[in-house]
Structures are given as C-alpha cells and as structure tokens.
C-alpha cells in the first residue's frame, strides 16, 4: 500500500470514528498512532506519544489556558460578569434595543475575562434573558443576541482559540491576543448596529427599558470598575510590555480571586469548584492538542497536506482568492464540526498553503478564529444556540436560529472588512512587537 493511500484511508477512518461519536481526541490518537506505525514504525509512534504528551503537558506557553479559564470561572461565580451587564444596562438600557446592546457589551466584557464562547453565552444567557423577557423583548432578538454575543469570547483576548492556533502554527500568543482586540471591538459594534437596524424595522422587537438617573448610572458603573480594572490590567499589561501572556493570566486570576474574597462573593467551596472545573476543562483541551501532535506528523508523512495544497493552488486564485476559498471551506465545515476540533484537524493542511502564498499568519489566525465563531451559531451543530436553548427552554430552536441570522450576516461583513483592511488586525501587534 502506498504512503498516500494510507493517508487517505487514515482520513476516512477518522471521519467514520467522528461520525460514530467517538471523542475527537480518541479518534485522532488512534488514526495518528496506527498511521505512523504503518508508514514508519511502532517505535516511532510510541516515542512520539511519550515525548509529545510530556512536552505539551509541560509547555510554558500553554500555562495560559488553565489560568484564563480559572479567571473566567471565578469571575462568573462571583457575579462580576453580572455587574458588567448591569453597568451597560444602566447606561443604554433606556433606549430602544438598549437591553440587547447591553447584553452584547456584557458578552464582550465577559469574553475579555473568560476566553470561552460557551461560558460567555451561558453566563450572559442566565443574566440577560430574564431581563429582556421582563421588558417584552421578542424572544428571537433576545436569544439571538445572547447566542451571537457569546461568540465574542473566542475572538476577544484572552482566547483559547488563539492559544491553540498559536501552538499549532508556532506563532506568538501575545501577537495573536493583540491582533484580536480591534476585530473583536469591530464585531461588537457591528452586532450593536444589527440590533439598531432590527429595532428600527421592527420597533416591537426591542422596546425601551426603564430609564435610570445619574446616581443609578454612576453606582452601576462603579460596581463594574473592579472587573474593568482586571481587563485593563491583563490586556493592557500585555500591550504595555509589563507582563507576558502567561504572567497576565496569573495576575488576572489572582486579582479576580482577591476581589472575590475581599467582597465576600467567593466562598472556599465555590473557589475549589471553580478550580476543579478549570482543571477538567484544561484536560479536555490538552488531550486534543496532544492527539493533534500525533496525527499531524502522520498527515505530514503521508504527504496529504502537500497534495491538498497542490490541488488548491492549482485553481490559481491568487492569495486573496485562496484565502477566501479556505475560509469558505471553514464556514461549511463549521456547520458540522466542533470549531476547536476543526482547527486542529485542518491547520496542518491549510497553514503551509498560507505561508506559501505569503499571507500574514497572524492576520490569517484572526480570520480563521472569526470564521470558527460562525460555526458556533450555524445550524445544525451551533453549540451556542443549544446553550441558549438550555437557558430559554420555551423558545424553539428554529426561532433562535432565525434570531441569530442578522448577527451571522454581520460576521460575514466583519470578515469582509478584515480582509479588505488587514491593518485592523495587525496594527496593534505590529506596534507592540515592532
């Protein structure tokens, strides 16, 4: 059997196992391990397994993952995310569609703490859906806003998606974090524009909330100050060169814990549960990463990335055309595959093409992560939609998907803008890292 045939068979087996609901990491382990054994030797497979498991498990760069997850978990438990929402609510809730916009801002703020889209959707769903329901918001708008707003978690730093991308492509995590800031803000603003458009066309979808006086606004803003301070400290610390991303994650987690203890919003039991949950989530991510480092050498040995690269380059679409083609493939795959798994499975194939075409890997990282976000709200898998459904059981899935549609459209607009103006993604990392 030729090496290429083994490679193709490996990919077929991988997709069969995934379809059968075998966990993504296990499927990649099996295919990678046996693939390397067949092409090279069992000694190579065992050696690679042992070295990659320990090397990745002790990677200094990856320390950011558990620490940012811990920071998000503690912020969620202590109600800090709620105070962000309350502040936005007090300031813009009195306008038409204001509660929905406050939810998006709350999602963006929480995203800057947690790095997780699912956590953002779940937390803000619990906080905001009840409020919007109370003020007779149309369920399509309210659930759509939470599902879409939650996706900001993977783009606005700290983002687990960027960390995974950085590890797989050997790019700087700090550069990627900074590259995500402006696109994240752009997307947040586009979401607010979508809300304004919806409420202009259908005013009954988002009636104005209660007005608040200056004292209430000030008090709400003051309540959110500690958490705004943490965001500024971590992201600003990286940007200002005060901390490395790893140090920023530890400082952020430490400060959030201290705030929780000082304000008496964090008990020892809650803290322990948040830490245990962070450990469990980290294990999920790390096992997939280790498996990826087993399957990627197999793919490389089987020359599959070369063949796919030659096929795509054969269309002769030029750099931008090829970039759009790859993003379109991500868009379709995102409807069926979990975003993180998709990233791990496809980057070894697409990334060499990107480098060959001279496309900036940081810019490509931002576009890729943004496209992955779309998968979180695309039918039929859209995990954020299911998360929102679990918080709003009375709203049908069809209604939530319809509600998400305008925001999905805004994500396409954002991708278009970011392709047309790469500087939006690159200006911060280029200024900071020269």
């Amino acid at each position: 059997m030729s090496i290429e045939t083994i490679g193709v068979l490996g990919i077929v087996v991988l997709f069969v196992l995934l379809t059968l609901r075998i966990p993504v990491a296990f499927a990649m382990f099996v295919v990678g391990f046996f693939g390397i054994t067949l092409i090279d030797s069992s000694n190579s497979a065992f050696g690679l397994l042992a070295s990659e498991a320990f090397t990745l498990g002790s990677s200094p760069q990856l320390v950011v993952i558990p620490l940012f997850i811990l920071m998000g978990n503690v912020a969620s438990i202590t109600g800090m995310s709620r105070r962000l929402y309350d502040a936005a609510y007090a300031i813009i809730g009195e306008f038409r569609g204001g509660l929905a916009s406050a939810t998006v801002i709350g999602c963006g703020g929480f995203a800057a703490l947690s790095g997780s889209s699912v956590a953002s959707a779940l937390t803000m769903g619990k906080v905001a859906l009840g409020e919007m329901d109370r003020y007779n918001y149309n369920p399509r708008l309210s659930t759509g806003v939470v599902a879409a707003g939650g996706t900001l978690g993977i783009l606005i730093p700290p983002s687990t998606g960027f960390v995974i991308y950085a590890i797989l492509t050997e790019q700087s995590i700090g550069r990627l974090f900074l590259a995500g800031v402006l696109p994240g803000i752009l997307l947040l603003l586009l979401f607010i524009v979508a809300i304004m458009l919806i409420c202009t066309i259908r005013p009954e979808y988002g009636p104005a909330g209660p007005s608040t006086n200056l004292r209430q606004k000030t008090r709400a803003l003051a309540g959110a100050l500690p958490i705004i301070g943490v965001i500024l400290l971590t992201i600003g610390g990286i940007y200002g060169g005060l901390f490395s991303p790893v140090e920023a994650s530890a400082v952020g987690a430490g400060v959030v814990i201290i705030i929780g203890i000082v304000t008496r919003n964090l008990t020892i039991a809650q803290f322990w549960e948040a830490a245990k949950d962070s450990v469990s989530t980290t294990a999920t991510v790390m096992l997939i990463l280790i498996a990826a480092h087993l399957i990627n050498p197999f793919l490389a040995l089987s020359h599959i990335p070369d063949a796919v690269g030659a096929f795509i380059l054969g269309f002769d679409l030029g750099a931008i055309g090829t970039l759009i083609l790859i993003l379109s493939i991500y868009l379709v795959l995102g409807c069926f595959l979990e975003g993180f798994a998709m990233l791990v499975l496809t980057l070894p194939i697409f990334f060499p093409i990107i480098l060959q075409l001279g496309i900036d890997p940081i810019w490509f990282g931002v576009l890729t992560v943004l496209t992955l976000e779309m998968g979180l709200i695309s039918p039929p898998v859209g995990i954020n939609v299911f998360i929102v459904k679990s918080v709003a059981p009375n709203v049908s899935l069809a209604d939530i998907f319809r509600g998400v549609l305008p925001f999905w459209g805004m994500m396409i607009v954002a991708i278009g803008i970011l392709i047309a103006f790469p500087q939006i993604s690159l200006i911060l990392p280029d200024t900071m890292f020269n």
Binding site: I22, G254, S280, A283
Partner: protein, 168 residues
C-alpha cells in the same frame, strides 16, 4: 461488586482531581510571587521549572475527572438518528478505546521515564528530575484508564452512564 468498584474509582478520580487542582493553585501562586518579586527586584528563582512541572500534574490529574464529567468533545450530530442500542455500543467502545489509549500512554511515558533516569534529565534551574513527573503522568493515566474501563463495564452490564449523574 460494581458499586464497590465505582466507590473506589470515584475516590481515585477525586484524589487525582485534587492533586491536579493543587497543581493549578501552585501555578497561580508561583507566577504571582515571581511577578511581584520581579517588580521588587527579586524574582522567584526557578519559577518556570515549578510552573511547567505543575502544569503536567494539573493536565494529567484532570484527565480522569474530565472523563467522569463527560468533558471529552465528540461530534454528536447523528446521535438522535441512531438507535439507542447503537449509541450504547458506541459509548462502550469509546470508553474501551479511551482505556487502551491511556494504558498505552502510561506505558510509553514510563519507558521514557526510565530513559530520563538513566540520562539524569532534570529541569533547567531547580534540577527537578523529569522522571518524577513522567511517573506521575503514568500513574494519572492509569487511573484514567481504570475509570474508563469501569465505565465501559457499567455501560455494558447495567447501562449506567456515570457522566450523566451528579458530579463528584
């Protein structure tokens, strides 16, 4: 018998998770002390050695509880279209596959630990022997494998799926 095994397995999973969680807290503490120390002109010597080795403990200490909580990502797009019996068989196969993977991992890393011992491999500054942490990794992997094997047995014999129960 299964109940007794489950109690023992849950105890081991909890212990493994506790050690992993302590690894996480060590990371937070050590990095914070290092950052504050650096600002005061006295960074913590060997902090990276401690954080990276604590990372090994937290990652692999968390594997068993991750499985117990059903944390592994799977593509469940077609689950509603498969018969219940089919889904149950898949769950059993997945758990068995996981057990085999973790036993293989434990064995491979243990062999690597022997090599590290022979070559006296250690961390850069504090000279912590790498084999200690490789052996810890192997033990955590074996705990995870045992827990997965038990889950496969429970699914096959009684249909009990601990991932859907109250979490430990």
């Amino acid at each position: 018998m299964l109940r007794l095994l489950r109690t023992a397995a849950d105890g081991l999973i909890s212990l493994s998770a506790i050690i992993g969680t302590l690894g996480l807290l060590t990371e937070v503490g050590v990095i914070l002390v290092d950052v504050v120390g650096r600002a005061l002109g006295a960074p913590l010597y060997g902090s990276q050695d401690i954080t990276t080795m604590a990372m090994v403990i937290l990652v692999f200490g968390g594997m068993a509880i991750c499985d117990r909580r059903g944390g592994h990502i799977a593509v469940d797009l077609f689950e509603p279209y498969f018969p219940d019996m089919w889904n149950r068989i898949t769950d059993i196969l997945a758990a068995l596959m996981g057990a085999i993977i973790f036993v293989t991992l434990a064995w491979a890393v243990n062999e690597s630990a022997k090599l590290s011992d022979m070559l006296n491999l250690s961390t850069n500054l504090l000279r912590l022997p790498k084999s200690w942490f490789q052996n810890a990794l192997s033990v955590f992997a074996l705990v995870t494998a045992a827990a997965m094997l038990l889950r496969a047995l429970e699914l096959a014999i009684s249909g009990r799926d601990t991932r859907k129960e109250d979490q430990i």
